[in-house]
């Protein structure tokens, strides 16, 4: 690797890491903190990506009052040729749009979370898991079949809100994504430490007792799913904006199963663990991807299958030999607890 290759490698890696960190945080809040096995994350991610993509061009036309008779989805590329120059020339408008789109992404995620969990929220854990997984499929069917959403299988492009960065577009995009991810990390980390988070954990640890203590289980679980889905939606929107285009190809493996493996690797229940797990996983995956050509000659089979074998085996290994992941969930200290308990302790 030459130096600039190392830089490129790192930048791509950080971009992936940011997106997956957000999704993993969403999952950790649901499964790790509240104990809701959401195997349908992909729905919220795809929701964020598709709906944002669907609205982005339309909104851009409206807000930048670009006058065109063309349909923003059908003649997507041509319309964007009118929009992108404006964005390229004005970073601040672009950033404004970015924030708007992220909000839309989050909202779409929430909507998806609502749709998928509403019929299932009262079900037993296992039912819920399978049901959410099943519902995860629905959006790709719609995305492919209903052209006004994202123009069918061909997908659609989004306004290039990073265009102003010119040849450094992807560096800036990555930086911003990382920023968003870190902000969300801090937010969730704090949220979990509030009394609200404490109740979520209580529900995870013992639903009946929580009920006997007057907690409205359903409402808490619902809000956990919603927050998680909002995060997934934001991640979806971010990735769509970063890559500049969306096709109805968001699948279970990439956007439900991999985040599960990441959180697992890091340690369910701990946000730091989640972050570490995501970083390690993405890094491993990219390294395998990068070096596969080097050991391709020694493999008796096509090297692209290596990812599957290694990821799968790695996960099984972790599950058997270190089920709690790299980082064990810590007993989060109680806000304002220190002084009182401090003097209670001897010495």
């Amino acid at each position: 690797m030459t130096l600039d290759q190392v830089i490129l490698f790192t930048v791509d890696l950080l971009a992936l890491f940011s997106v997956y960190l957000i999704i993993s945080l969403g999952l950790n809040l649901q499964q790790g903190v509240t104990g809701i096995p959401n195997f349908g994350l992909v729905l919220a991610v795809a929701g964020g990506a598709y709906i944002t993509a669907s609205l982005s061009t339309r909104l851009a036309i409206y807000l930048l009052n670009v006058h065109t008779s063309l349909d923003p989805i059908v003649n997507n590329v041509t319309v964007l040729q009118l929009v992108n120059p404006i964005l390229r020339s004005s970073p601040w408008i672009s950033i404004g749009l970015l924030i708007l789109f992220l909000i839309i992404g989050g909202a779409s995620g929430a909507l998806m979370g609502l749709i998928s969990s509403a019929p299932a929220i009262r079900l037993r854990e296992d039912y819920l898991a399978i049901t959410l997984l099943a519902f995860g499929e629905i959006l790709n069917v719609v995305g492919t079949g209903y052209d006004p959403l994202i123009g069918g299988p061909a997908g659609t492009s989004l306004p290039d809100i990073f265009g102003w960065a010119g040849q450094y577009r992807f560096y800036w995009a990555t930086l911003i994504m990382l920023l968003v991810a870190v902000m969300l990390f801090v937010y969730i980390e704090r949220l979990v430490k509030t009394p609200f988070g404490r109740v979520l954990k209580a529900i995870r640890d013992n639903e009946n007792t929580a009920m006997s203590l007057g907690k409205d289980i359903t409402r808490y679980r619902m809000s956990s799913i919603l927050i998680g889905s909002i995060l997934c939606g934001i991640a979806g929107a971010l990735w769509a904006l970063y890559s500049g285009a969306v096709t109805p190809s968001y699948d279970r493996l990439d956007y439900t199963f991999l985040p599960w493996l990441m959180v697992l690797l890091g340690g369910m229940g701990s946000n730091v663990g989640t972050a570490v797990g995501t970083l390690v996983f993405v890094t491993l995956d990219e390294l395998i991807d990068y070096f596969k050509y080097s050991f391709a000659p020694f493999l008796p089979f096509n090297v692209v299958w290596l990812n599957y074998l290694l990821l799968g085996l790695l996960t099984i290994f972790i599950l058997i030999y270190r089920p709690e992941g790299i980082i064990r969930e810590k007993w989060t200290s109680t806000p304002a607890a220190r002084p009182q308990t401090g003097e209670a302790k001897p010495g």
Binding site: M1, T2, Q5, V6, L8, F9, D12, L16, V19, Y20, N76, V77, T78, Q81, V141, T144, G145, G152, P153, A154, G155, T156, S157, D160, Q167, R169, F170, W239, S243, G244, A245, T247, S249, Y250, D251, L253, D254, Y255, L258, V272, V276, L279, V280, T283, D285, E286, L287, D289, Y290, F291, Y293, S294, N302, V303, V304, N307, Y308, I326, I327, R328
Partner: protein, 413 residues
């Protein structure tokens, strides 16, 4: 516990990078001459429902790779071309973009491949930003819908539309006024669907059914068969002439056999097809009898059996036991165009190579004939042929001239 882990991770990463320095031949950048090794990215679909096409394209690219290196040696150029294969479906997230980025970090400045318009759209901005030349051998969705012209993407296959006209001409010359169409819901099939619809309706044809099915999720075609049946039923009843246009992939075999098993009257009609399964022996082995019955008259870009084409056929056959389809041939040609452009540019530099490509493509005459590109970087329209399943094998039954848009039938079907 935690710091240890983080330290461990950092070490692991450093080691990884170290290995990188050690075993990845760095494309040393003296800008004036060509490096000793030139990595060229090959992006094909090895997983999922198009994998059988991807496998053929990969095999063809491998053949091209060896031939190109021999050629370079014969010219005494101290450079070896090293093809790096990426599956557009693997590695998260399944967006061609991440694969392109991986390749770029390997020092790849030229990528050839077979990608859908969607995938092309996904990599467009990265390719342009980083001056990566992409020569695509598949996607024939019309150019405007993918990327603005004059950028770093080329195609050595024509834009969509040509097939639509050819099919229309074929139906007309066979005296069909009514056509029932079923289309797979992927980019490629949909672009053909649109092209055919436009041409057919313009020519005053009557489209009695135009249904989509989701591909590959559809495993049972009963619903689609029923829909087609009820569409053609009235016409059959008044014995008007009607034909089926199965705008599908290799899964047409499934629909044929399921039609057979439900004794569907559709099998008594003549079926037409796009180039996705023309000359495809999987159809013969999967649904030979049914295909024979409905003939499956399929349009395909005329790939003259040039010496290089013949050579390619034998080579691919030897490696995977299948004939390369037209896309495999196009990928093969793309590889050659890429290599020749690099050689003529004299540097492994995207901007220079990009300017060289059109000229090279204009002069090159490969497995798909001459590959001259039009101003927007697409292959000029090619002549076409119609192949049908006759007595258990694919036979060339007609030719189509893109000049006067006429079909000449070579044998009765």
């Amino acid at each position: 516990m935690r710091p240890i882990v983080i330290v461990f991770i950092i070490i692991a990463l450093l080691v990884g990078v170290g290995i990188g320095y050690a075993i990845v031949p760095a494309p040393a950048p003296p800008k004036t001459t060509l490096p000793s090794t030139i990595p060229i990215g090959v992006m094909v679909t090895l997983t999922g429902s198009f994998s059988s096409y991807g496998a053929r394209a990969e095999a063809a690219a491998k053949v091209a790779n060896t031939q190109i290196n021999d050629y370079a040696k014969s010219l005494g150029i101290p450079t070896t071309f090293n093809f790096l294969y990426e599956d557009t479906q693997t590695s998260p997230p399944s967006v061609a973009l991440t694969e392109l980025q991986t390749l770029y970090t390997q020092g790849v400045k030229v990528v050839i491949g077979g990608m859908t318009s969607g995938e092309m759209a996904a990599i467009d901005s990265f390719a342009d930003t980083n001056h990566i030349v992409v020569i695509d051998g598949t996607s024939t969705a019309s150019r405007g819908s993918v990327a603005p012209p004059g950028d770093y993407e080329f195609r050595d296959m024509p834009a969509g539309g040509a097939e639509g006209a050819a099919l229309t001409a074929a139906f007309m010359s066979k005296g069909y006024k009514n056509v029932a169409m079923i289309s797979s819901s992927d980019t490629y099939s949909l672009s053909i669907r649109q092209a055919f619809k436009d041409a057919w309706l313009a020519a005053g044809g009557n489209l009695v059914s135009d249904i989509n099915y989701s591909y590959p999720a559809t495993t049972d075609f009963t619903v689609q068969l029923n829909a087609l049946q009820s569409a053609v039923a009235p016409l059959v009843a008044q014995n008007k002439s009607v034909a089926i246009f199965a705008n599908m992939w290799e899964d047409v075999a499934t629909m044929l056999t399921q039609a057979k098993s439900s004794n569907s009257p559709l099998l008594s009609l003549t079926w037409f097809g796009p180039d996705t399964y023309a000359q495809d022996n999987t159809i013969i082995s999967n649904a030979g009898a049914e295909a024979n019955q409905v003939k499956l008259i399929s349009v395909i870009f005329a790939a003259p059996l040039t010496p290089s084409h013949a050579e390619l056929n034998t080579a691919v056959n030897a490696s995977i036991g299948q004939e390369p389809d037209i896309y495999a041939c196009a990928t093969y040609d793309a590889a050659w165009i890429a290599a020749l452009s690099i050689l003529s540019a004299g540097q492994y530099n995207g901007t220079l190579i990009k300017t060289a490509v059109p000229t090279i493509a204009g002069q090159y005459y490969g497995a798909t004939g001459n590959t001259a590109l039009n101003p927007s970087g697409d292959r000029n329209t090619m002549d076409m042929e119609f192949w049908a399943v006759v007595s258990g094998t694919w036979e060339r039954v007609a030719t189509y001239s893109s000049v006067d848009q006429s079909v000449t039938w070579l044998m009765a079907v």
